[in-house]
């Protein structure tokens, strides 16, 4: 299935990262799978979104559509074909 990860301005252009990253994932893929695929496609972006253990950094939010994954099942949140993920800096940072 196809999902799209939309990156914030601060992560665009890093290693040539586009504003929207299309990913082709197997059926049943989760947000965690999408972030791992993002890191595989764009490692310089992936290491900024997740730490070395693969955990989402504490002041990074990921939305599926308009829902924050922290209010869903976190990185275990399942994705539907055509889903749009938004990676955003949290208001708590800085």
């Amino acid at each position: 299935m196809k999902v799209t990860v939309r990156l914030p301005g601060a992560l665009r252009d890093i290693a040539g990262a586009p504003a929207a990253v299309p990913l082709d994932l197997p059926p049943g893929a989760t947000v965690g799978d999408a972030l791992a695929a993002l890191a595989g496609a764009l490692p310089a972006v992936g290491r900024r979104v997740r730490d070395e253990t693969g955990a989402l950094r504490p002041h990074v939010n990921v939305f599926v559509g308009s829902d924050n994954i922290r209010d869903l099942a976190g990185t275990a949140t399942p994705l539907d074909d055509g889903a749009e993920l938004h990676v955003l800096p949290a208001v708590s940072g800085g």
């Binding site: 992560l11 290693a15 290491r47 070395e52 253990t53 955990a55």
Partner: protein
């Protein structure tokens, strides 16, 4: 006179201050806004500056400057791996870099002391680092406990002559030393006591706040503990208290004079339960006899009560002659002395809380 700059790392960015001919200082505009700048070092060969910058959203990276802090770049910006990162099999993630130190004996070797407590080593001038696994795998490590500043390795002292010998300090693990290039490490805390430790004190677990040495006499080390200032004359094999005459035995920074191996500076704080300056004054204490006696200096420092502390890397010296001594406070004031600490002038005020200061010349 050499071109001098004082790099000030704060909780919310970096300020670089430069001396004017009239004795005052000018500060560049704040860089790295919102980002803690936790450690700074200068390559003694090239003058290149290396700074640890913690983007609160996207993690820790390293910035470099080849023009004494006027412009900075991030060499690893597009790299797929952060310059300092734990190997996947450790299950650990970098929280901060609290110390950067160039080797005095090996060109392009740089050490990074980090939180969680670990040592990293670069052999390419600070572009990429590898975990020093001998220390990470030390059997004591599971028993180390974090101090209030986190579980960090904050002090790295490469031996000035032997590249295989490095001394580090960890809060709260204590002092450790390798003489075989990092493969094996031994605890070096004998003689360091504290109210929070049993009696007799254990082999490790001391909350060492800072250690320093003079390169002409590396077997003599000075140490500011969670309580007590200590000296070792045998490279940390045994420690003796040298704080008689200080108004308090608590504090964080300790700096050895760059040209006089028996001269050192501390800035006492009241106690661990009152981390404000002793007597609520910034009293820079200097010993000229390796800790046997101390003198307090406050000329030019605030006369009104002060309650903000001075962190472990927020005091430094430059290498000029006469040497400059510098410190910054947690309420964002920075002071400089051009007369061995006897009188002080203001460098900057109203900065974010100062995490580290480093004087650099070229």
């Amino acid at each position: 006179m050499a071109d001098l700059a004082l790099v000030i790392g704060t909780r919310k960015g970096m300020v670089v201050a430069r001396p004017r001919a009239d004795g005052g200082w000018d500060a560049d505009p704040l860089r790295f806004a919102t980002m803690p700048v936790t450690a700074v070092a200068a390559d003694p060969r090239t003058g290149r500056l290396l700074a640890a910058v913690h983007n609160p959203f996207w993690g820790v990276s390293l910035a470099v400057s080849d023009d004494l802090g006027r412009t900075w770049t991030e060499p690893a910006r597009d790299a797929g791996t952060a310059p300092v990162a734990f190997p996947e099999d450790t299950g650990a993630a970098l929280r901060d870099i609290w110390q950067l130190r160039y080797s005095p004996t090996e060109p392009d070797v740089v050490y990074a002391g980090v939180e969680p407590a670990a040592l990293f080593r670069s052999e390419d001038g600070g572009l990429t680092f590898s975990l020093v696994e001998g220390l990470w795998n030390h059997p004591h490590r599971p028993s180390w406990q974090p101090g209030a500043g986190g579980m960090c390795l904050h002090t790295v002292l490469p031996d000035p002559a032997d590249p295989a010998t490095v001394t580090v300090a960890i809060s709260a693990g204590g002092v450790y030393r390798t003489t075989d290039g990092g493969t094996t490490w031994t605890a070096r805390n004998h003689g360091i006591t504290a109210a929070f430790l049993p009696d007799p004190p254990p082999e490790f677990g001391q909350c060492v706040h800072k250690v320093d040495l003079h390169p002409s006499r590396p077997e003599r080390m000075f140490l500011q503990h969670h309580g007590g200032v200590y000296r070792s004359d045998d490279a940390g094999a045994a420690w003796t208290r040298v704080d008689a005459g200080l108004p308090a035995d608590f504090g964080f920074p300790l700096v050895v004079h760059p040209h006089r191996p028996d001269t050192l500076y501390v800035l006492p704080l009241n106690a661990d339960i009152d981390r404000s300056p002793a007597g609520h004054r910034y009293l820079v204490h200097r010993s000229d006899d390796a800790g046997a006696t101390w003198r307090a200096f406050d000329k030019g420092l605030p006369e009104s009560p002060c309650y903000a502390s001075v962190l472990r890397d927020a005091m430094c010296a430059d290498t000029l002659d006469p040497a400059g001594i510098y410190f910054g406070t947690r309420d964002g004031w920075v002071y400089a002395s051009r007369d061995d600490g006897e009188s002080w002038t203001e460098v900057a005020r109203h900065l974010p809380d100062v995490l580290c200061v480093r004087a650099v010349t070229r």
